[in-house]
Each structure stands twice: as structure tokens, then as C-alpha cells.
């Protein structure tokens, strides 16, 4: 993929930070507002795709590193499954933090309420784990397929 015109690059520079922040907002508020780990992760992943498209696959590998993404991906998944395992005292995936008064352990006000960040038990933590996994998975997929496309093209010429 070649890099695109200066207009596209300028707009990308201006916009991608907002997209990433919006994605993290969706991840962090997954238990209160529409959204969650997957949706937020997909939004952040789309920012990476935007960067890749506008800067081209060769230039963008300077600041989007596949290795770091795959490290984060494994980290997110292991965090997720460890959260599942830590409920094993009772059952796998038991929500051991909900209504316990500790981390994210406030009981929710039943019925309509303005929302309290400190509720939900393991749900916000799982949102973060899954969000991390999804955004880095998107990054890896997009980068790998872009470099693979480059490879395919070269092969064809020779």
C-alpha cells in the first residue's frame, strides 16, 4: 500500500488520537453505557487501520509494531482467563468481586440511576482485558494482511 495525499495524512494526525480516546472511553464505561470491551477495542483498532491506510504499510510499521501488539494480545487474554480462574473457589467465571464492597464492589442502585463507575465486580476488569485483546488483535490482523499483500504483489512481478 502506498501512502496517501497530504490532506489525508493531516486529517489522520488530527483525528486518530480522538478515536483512540473514544475507544478507551467505551471500554472503561462498558458496564454503564452502551458498549464494552469488544466495541471499544474495535474502535481503537479502526484508528490503527486509518493510520495504516493513510501512511502506507511500509511507513506505518515504524510506529505500529506487530510484536508489541501480539504481546499485548497474549497479555489481555491471559488476564481474561486468569479472571475466570480466580473465581474457581466457587465456579469458573464466578463474579467474585460483585457486591463485595471492595474493588468495583459497590452494589448498584436497583432501577434507573445515573451510574456508578465502582460497580460491576469483575465486569469492568474483563472489559479492559477483552478490549486490550481485541484492539491488539485488530492491529496484528491489519498489519499482517497489509504486509502479506505487499509480498503477494512482489511475487507476481518476478
Amino acid at each position: 500500500m502506498k501512502e496517501m495525499s497530504r490532506i489525508v495524512k493531516t486529517v489522520t494526525n488530527f483525528v486518530y488520537g480522538f478515536i483512540i480516546i473514544f475507544g478507551f472511553y467505551i471500554i472503561a464505561h462498558g458496564h454503564l453505557t452502551p458498549g464494552g470491551g469488544f466495541q471499544g477495542g474495535a474502535v481503537v483498532g479502526s484508528a490503527f487501520a486509518l493510520l495504516l491506510v493513510s501512511y502506507g504499510s511500509l511507513n506505518s510499521t515504524k510506529f505500529l509494531k506487530k510484536d508489541i501488539f501480539s504481546l499485548f494480545e497474549s497479555f489481555g487474554l491471559i488476564l481474561f482467563i486468569v479472571l475466570g480462574f480466580s473465581g474457581l473457589g466457587i465456579t469458573f467465571f464466578y463474579n467474585f468481586l460483585a457486591n463485595s464492597g471492595g474493588w468495583f464492589g459497590n452494589a448498584a442502585v436497583i432501577g434507573v440511576n445515573p451510574g456508578d463507575m465502582n460497580t460491576g465486580g469483575v465486569i469492568p476488569l474483563m472489559n479492559i482485558a477483552v478490549g486490550l485483546e481485541v484492539l491488539s488483535a485488530f492491529g496484528v490482523i491489519v498489519l499482517t494482511m497489509a504486509s502479506g499483500a505487499e509480498f503477494t504483489k512482489k511475487k507476481e512481478k518476478s
Binding site: 501480539s70 452494589a107 436497583i110 460491576g120 465486580g121 465486569i123
Partner: protein
């Protein structure tokens, strides 16, 4: 020959789908909704999350979500394995 067989299979399959669509309960009026009503009423109390969908995704059906994250991980490993000879 192949096209005729495919055509017959397609027609049978499509008629199955059409019949199921026509026989389905009316749009917007779920006949039974006990399981979902249970979620709507009890999700806040049991999990503490305001968003009922999230509490289903991560609590009641949390294992599905693990499977789903695994599917994504599998796809990533598969894509990387397919292009593994490619130097960046």
C-alpha cells in the same frame, strides 16, 4: 449438471428459510420471554452492572465470551501463521 444440482439445493434451502420466516412469531411481540425478563430484573442486583447486555456477555454467558476471544485469538494466530514467511 452441477448447476442443476446446485439450483435444486438452493431452491430447497431457500424455501425452508421462507417458510420459517413466514411461520415465525410476529415481529416485535415475543411469545415467551421468561429468560430475558429474569435478566432484566435480576442483572443489576446480581452483578451490579447497569448495562444488562454487558452483564450477560461477561457474567451469565461469560464462557461464551471466553470462547469468542479465543476465536479471535485463533484467527490472529492463523493469519500470522499463514503469512509467517513474510518479512516486514
Amino acid at each position: 449438471m452441477k448447476k442443476i444440482i446446485f439450483g435444486i439445493a438452493f431452491i430447497i434451502f431457500f424455501s425452508f428459510l421462507i417458510v420459517s420466516a413466514v411461520n415465525m412469531r410476529t415481529f416485535g411481540e415475543p411469545a415467551f420471554s421468561e429468560m430475558d425478563d429474569y435478566f432484566i430484573e435480576n442483572a443489576q442486583r446480581e452483578t451490579g452492572a447497569n448495562n444488562v447486555v454487558t452483564s450477560i456477555v461477561f457474567d451469565y454467558r461469560g464462557f461464551d465470551t471466553l470462547g469468542e476471544a479465543t476465536v479471535l485469538f485463533t484467527a490472529v494466530v492463523g493469519v500470522v501463521a499463514l503469512f509467517r514467511g513474510v518479512k516486514k
